[in-house]
Amino acid sequence: MLRYATRRFLGALPTLFILIALAFFLIRVAPGGPFDSEKALLPEVEANLRAAYNLDEPLHQQFARYVWGLAQADFGPSFQYRDYTVTELIMTGFPVSLRLGGMAITLALLVGVTAGSLAALRQNTRTDYAVMSASMTGISIPNFVMAPLLILIFAVYLGWLPAGGLGDGSPRNMVLPVIALALPQIAYISRLTRGSMIEVLRSNFIRTARAQGLPMHKIVLRHALKPALLPVVSYLGPATAAVITGSVVIEQIFGVPGLGRFFVQGALNRDYTLVMGVVVFYGVLIIAFNLLVDLAYAWLDPKVKYS
């Protein structure tokens, strides 16, 4: 198991390298640079700055320097937040984003699996149609539309919840961003669960369980849920990626000081190292999460064995 995990991680290194290279060169191709501002800097000052951050070296040398730094877990200094290293910035933003994303995924799983199973059990009834049309809506409305709508209804009109920011840090502030982030995932997961649950409920071993006199709720929980969850589990990989990209928008809209905001700010300011740092960090995170998903698969399906 451990050997398998290590091997998978080593296997992901080329992927990571390509990701780093793409991000590194793409952001440098973008017009403008980290030291552009309203007031043009004196050429000597800018030259000194560039030299200080090694931006005067040829590109390939900068790249090699960056990768070498990464290998020692050094993301480099931020160009914009001059007193901080990128590592420090990630460490301030990430806990907030993790809380937001973790809650969103958990919520999506709880609501999605329950709603999907319910729809499957009541196939072609009103419950089923209600769940399915709600999830179709959830899939088709993008989060940058959904988020302002939520703010308008629950914060502005009803005044139940704060419109943005973390305020005093009470959980109330997280409710709207978490819901906005989770909604499309709830929709996907409930559709997935419904489909696979219907399939599983038709299988022979469910008939056996019924013939053995087990009541329906036990059949669903003990016999059907595990196999029905397999496609949901494999969707969790892409789901985390979607939540991460979603959080970039959501954090911006709700003014949540998470990693997504640093990312957006960094991109706008051409803060090369910050953008790179977030990209690499998220890249590693997604690769690690996909590995976790595969390991969870082995735990759910006894026929899958890794060695």
Binding site: S203, N204, F205, G213, P302, K305
Partner: protein, 599 residues
């Protein structure tokens, strides 16, 4: 009073095409401890009958009538009350033990919950009860099996687990729906023996649903014959088998190929020259053992096979699943790559052929597959399916000529010739197999390899297809290789028969020699495992029950492949692999064949 009394049972299904009557006006009784056989072909309503009794019909199904079980009408019970009867007092086992057990739960997990659902019991006590039951159904190393997942068990073992799970609460009725149909004949014999024994020891009444008259003859006291949702005949097993009153029963009994039927000797055609010869053929598949990136080892599917086929002759190949018979067929046609050995068709070695020549050669060697519907492309019309080989091999033929030939060949296989624009799903299994035969026949090949061509079909249809193949052979002088696991069918059609076990030939003989004087212990066990549809004969037979399961072809036994299940095995059998040798009229690969102890 009977244990179960069913009166005027009707089962209806609401479908898009209107109401379908699956069972009509069925009445029968079952006494305590009795064994009742329900026999019928697919679609006769035999499964729906029992499913309706325990409330497991599909959602669009409705049952009416009455079913008195121990003083209460099963059709008038609340869902909760019915559930407490299901599994506890009436339990059921199903056809396919792989899909009928939950692949995601261990044996213990699925058995314990049945016990605890119906009886207040600690987990510990329930587990002990399960272990006891696994031992009662004679599972070796029962304690270890408890924590296995279904895929870690063999087919026979899975069915034993199913039976154990169904007997946990000492039910009064055990319903077995085709319990041995998915199993090999030697394993079937083990399971039937077990059910007989359980019925005797525990006094559980058994309702056995099957299409196999031989199975009923051996196990049941009374029989119900169903056809088209109606009861055609019921009575004591000997009355039904020896003095059938209904014409359908008579037809059914006549259609079954039987091992004890009189042999009309099929004389092999004069041996001119060999049409197809196979020499030392080996097919090994690399498989990973021990998980995802484990070591690659060869799975020896076919491990050194020689055979000869003359024109106009039928060679039957029999053996249990996993013996390599289908792989052999594919290797002969070069549909799978061979590891060693050579195949010669019409004197031409196939190993030397390039792609083009191989395609030419395939004109002379055609194949028919097992699942008739699945082997026809559902998106192609019958006309396209049958004409495709013609258009490939004779592109110069005009459209009219192709159509005429296709219609001709369709008529020849017993269809009307007007099916050209219809799709496979519009036809029954038997008709689909006729289409498959037409596709093979349209090129006028010299050899047709039939890989289990009738095992997916009903008995009466099987007979039609086998007879069709025999007629076609006589008419066109075809050579056939007929692969099947059903020894009775093979006996009916073959001139010579080859018995395979774990990739090797055990015995080759003319059909008369093989069935009358089988020499190899494996051949004898196989033949004795086939149930004969004759209650008296079937019950008087001395059975040679083969113990255990087929060893893994990745790790076959040393020396003689069969020695681990052979009761005559000696030291020599472990060290030295027996070669085929001539013994009276047969070729046998056994060190001890011919010795007096074996007879």
């Amino acid at each position: 009073m009977s244990l179960l009394e069913v009166r005027n049972l009707h089962v209806r299904f609401d479908t898009a095409d209107g109401e379908v009557h699956a069972v009509r006006n069925l009445s029968f009784e079952l006494d305590r401890g009795e064994t009742l056989g329900v026999v019928g072909e697919s679609g006769s309503g035999k499964s729906q009958t029992v499913l309706s009794l325990i409330g497991l019909l599909a959602d669009n199904g409705r049952a009416s009538g009455s079913a008195m079980f121990d003083g209460q009408d099963l059709f008038n019970l609340s869902p909760g009350a019915l559930r407490s009867i299901r599994g506890r007092r009436i339990s059921m086992i199903f056809q396919d033990p792989m899909t009928s057990l939950n692949p995601y739960l261990t044996v213990a997990e699925q058995m314990v919950q049945v016990v605890r659902e119906h009886d207040r019991m600690t987990r510990r006590a329930a587990r002990d009860r399960c272990l006891e039951m696994l031992e009662a159904v004679k599972i070796p190393d029962a304690a270890e099996r408890l924590d296995c997942y279904p895929h870690e068990l063999s087919g026979g073992m899975r069915q034993r687990v199913m039976i154990a799970a169904s007997l946990l609460l000492d039910p009064q009725i055990l319903v077995a729906d085709e319990p041995t149909t998915a199993l090999d004949v030697t394993v079937q014999a083990q399971i039937l023996e077990l059910m007989k024994d359980l019925n005797r020891r525990l006094g559980t009444a058994i309702i056995l649903i099957t299409h196999d008259l031989g199975v009923i003859a051996g196990l049941c006291e009374r029989v119900i014959v169903m056809h088209d949702g109606e009861l055609k005949e019921q009575g004591n097993v000997r009355d039904v088998f020896y003095r059938p009153r209904h014409s359908y029963t008579k037809a059914l009994l006549k259609a079954v190929p039987r091992l004890d039927a009189e042999q009309v000797e099929r004389l092999a055609p004069a041996a001119d020259s060999s049409l197809l010869s196979v020499d030392g053929l080996k097919v090994h598949f690399p498989v990973r053992t021990g998980g995802w990136l484990g070591e690659k080892r060869p799975l020896r599917a076919v491990d050194g096979v020689n055979l000869d086929l003359r024109s106009g002759e039928t060679l039957g190949i029999v053996g249990e699943s996993g013996c390599g018979k289908s792989t052999l067929a594919r290797a002969i046609l070069r549909l799978v790559p061979t590891t060693a050995g050579n195949v010669c068709l019409l004197g031409q070695s196939m190993g030397d052929l390039d792609k083009r020549a191989l395609r030419e050669m395939r004109r002379d060697a055609q194949v028919i597959f097992q699942d008739p519907l699945a082997s026809l492309n559902p998106r192609m019309t019958v006309g396209n399916i049958v004409s495709e080989p013609l258009r490939t091999h004779f592109p110069e033929l005009g459209a009219d000529e192709v159509r005429t030939r296709v219609a001709d060949v369709l008529r020849r296989v017993g269809l009307s010739g007007r099916e050209l624009n219809r799709y496979p799903h519009e036809f029954s299994g038997g008709q689909c197999q006729r289409i498959g035969i037409a596709r093979a026949l349209v090129l006028k090949p010299k050899v047709i390899i039939c890989d289990e061509p009738v095992s997916a079909l009903d008995v009466s249809i099987q007979a039609q297809i086998v007879n069709l193949l025999m007629d076609l052979q006589a008419e066109f002088g075809l050579a056939l290789i007929f692969i099947a696991h059903d020894l009775a069918v093979v006996r009916h059609i073959s001139h010579r028969i080859m018995v395979m076990y774990l990739g090797r030939i055990m015995e080759v003989a003319s059909r008369k020699a093989l069935y009358e004087t089988p020499h190899h212990p494996y051949t004898r066990a196989l033949i004795s495992a086939v149930p004969i549809p004759d209650p008296d004969k079937e019950r008087d037979r001395d059975r040679e029950l083969l113990p255990g399961d087929l060893p893994s072809p990745v790790d076959p036994p040393s020396g003689c492949r069969f020695r681990t299940r052979c009761r005559f095995a000696q030291d020599r059998c472990r060290t030295e692999a027996p070669q085929l040798r001539q013994l009276t009229d047969s070729l046998v690969a056994c060190h001890r064949a011919g010795e007096a102890v074996l007879v």
